[in-house]
């Protein structure tokens, strides 16, 4: 299943947030979206997943939705969005409970997905007992459990400290190499973008427009060998965005 964004614009009242976004995503492709603070990245992701209706334009699903998926478009949130009153297992099962699985199927799915994210030992832990990195692993496990066609990841690593971020980035690369997944990946972090993205969409300041789309053809698992190329690319992206980031940072927030 692919997605096609057609001339998406969005405003909140008088605030124009997105302007004429056209974008495609293809199977097993990771599309990174970068842009300065407040340019509408999260809004765009919400529109893609059907959580918000755009003022103009539409999001189209192309091709068949895979038969075994429970939730074709599945989010991973910056703040993990785990239910604090459920254990790791309970949080994963939340996503499965409404799909009429039998008890044993449910058990099997959950333990499979926990094993894949190396969480098996933590099945009965509550979120408050977990470090940030582990929490996000649980959120990833929950997302994988519904066998999504496309994952929508909104700055999944930016609430983590940078060492944990490194660890999780490695995990995501591993996962993609092993199983391959399709994802929109919103981030502020250009190092993340060049490490994970097949396409990097650069948005302008609000109202967010596509300034450029950068493709990186190096396979994910080979990227460490091309560190220098990526660094240059990252610098190029940063030069493109620096001014706008500065302006966005200095903006006063009105009530």
């Amino acid at each position: 299943m692919d997605l096609h964004l057609e001339a998406i614009s969005h405003s909140y009242g008088n605030l124009n947030v997105l302007k004429n976004i056209n974008l495609d995503i293809h199977h097993k492709e990771i599309v990174c979206i970068v842009g300065p603070s407040g340019c509408g990245k999260s809004t765009l992701l919400r529109i893609i997943g059907g959580l918000e209706l755009p003022t103009a334009g539409k999001v189209l699903q192309l091709g068949e939705v895979p038969a075994d998926t429970f939730n074709p478009l599945t989010y991973i949130f910056q703040d993990f969005a785990l239910l604090p009153w459920r254990t790791v297992k309970g949080n994963v099962s939340l996503a499965l409970e409404e799909h009429g699985l039998s008890g044993s199927e449910m058990e099997a799915t959950i333990s499979d997905v926990l094993a894949r994210t190396k969480l098996s030992e933590f099945a009965d832990a509550l979120p408050r007992q977990l470090s940030g990195g582990m929490k996000q692993r649980v959120a990833i496990a929950r997302a994988l459990s519904v066998k999504p066609a496309i994952m929508l990841m909104d700055e999944p690593l930016s609430a983590l400290d940078s060492q944990t971020r490194e660890l999780l980035m490695d995990d995501l690369v591993d996962l993609w190499v092993r199983e391959g997944f399709t994802a929109f990946y919103v981030t502020h972090n250009l190092a993340e973008a060049v490490r994970l993205g097949h396409k990097i969409v650069v948005l302008s300041r609000r109202p967010g427009e596509i300034r450029d789309i950068v493709s990186i053809d190096i396979p994910l698992n080979e990227r460490s060998a091309f560190a220098h190329d990526l660094e240059t690319k990252q610098k190029q992206l940063w030069d493109m965005m620096r001014e706008e980031a500065l302006a966005a940072d200095q903006e006063l927030i009105d009530e």
Binding site: H4, D24, G49, L51, L53, K199, V214
Partner: protein, 282 residues
Amino acid sequence: MNKAVTNQTSNSIQNNGPDHSSARPVPFRGGGFQPKPIRGVAPFVFIGLIAFWEFGSQTGFISSLVLPAPSEAFQAFRELVESGMLFIHLSASLQRLLIGWICGTTLGIIVGLMIGLSSIARAGLSPLVSAIFPIPKIALLPLFIIWFGIGEGSKVATILFGTFFPTVITTYGGVDNVDRNLIRMGQSFGLSWSSIVRKIIFPGALPAILSGCRISGSIAIILLVAAEMIGAEFGIGAYILLAGSLFATDQLIAGVAILSTMGLSLAWLIGRAEKYFLNWRT
């Protein structure tokens, strides 16, 4: 490197556009769960309810023994206004309310800050507060008469007692919730103890204190009736009590409506105070 990394413009994407034959829009599943107050409904509800009530009374569907018609209550209110007694009752009550509430709140804030700041005060006072708080003031009225007399003393004391304890509790809760990082910051700049209390802890606890005022204000109004049980000739509470003992339900409803209005005005006032003092909150 050029092999590995290439640029595309957004235009080139649109060209190899999708095969629209199997294209279906993504279903919408967001929204909701954010009830917004709809303007204009509140007066409508009130007017509707009162109209229904009046209608019921007029047709005898609601017996006047059970509930007097709103028009009768309004008539009682008009009599109160025209006789000039409204002003006398209101000023008597407001004076008691204000004195009792201001003293109770001030003392409550002081004791609350002490409990919030000192281990000894906390150990000694907080269990006392928890033990005395749940005592209904109305049960103590006979003792209050002995302790504070039957003049203004016992009325003010009833309100003072009623407002003191919740204020203590919310204040020290507020102090406990002040961000410890801010206090540590103050210490790191070498601020004195009193500066930290005045400049960091008190403003930090202010939201809790104001919301405590909301509670203690309602309690003060509720206690007005109890307070004015003791030898009060004038006052809204006394008016309601007399109406109750005469079973003059029209006056009773009028008095209750006055109390309710006082409660709403107070909530509004504290809302304004919060807007003013807490404009720094997001």
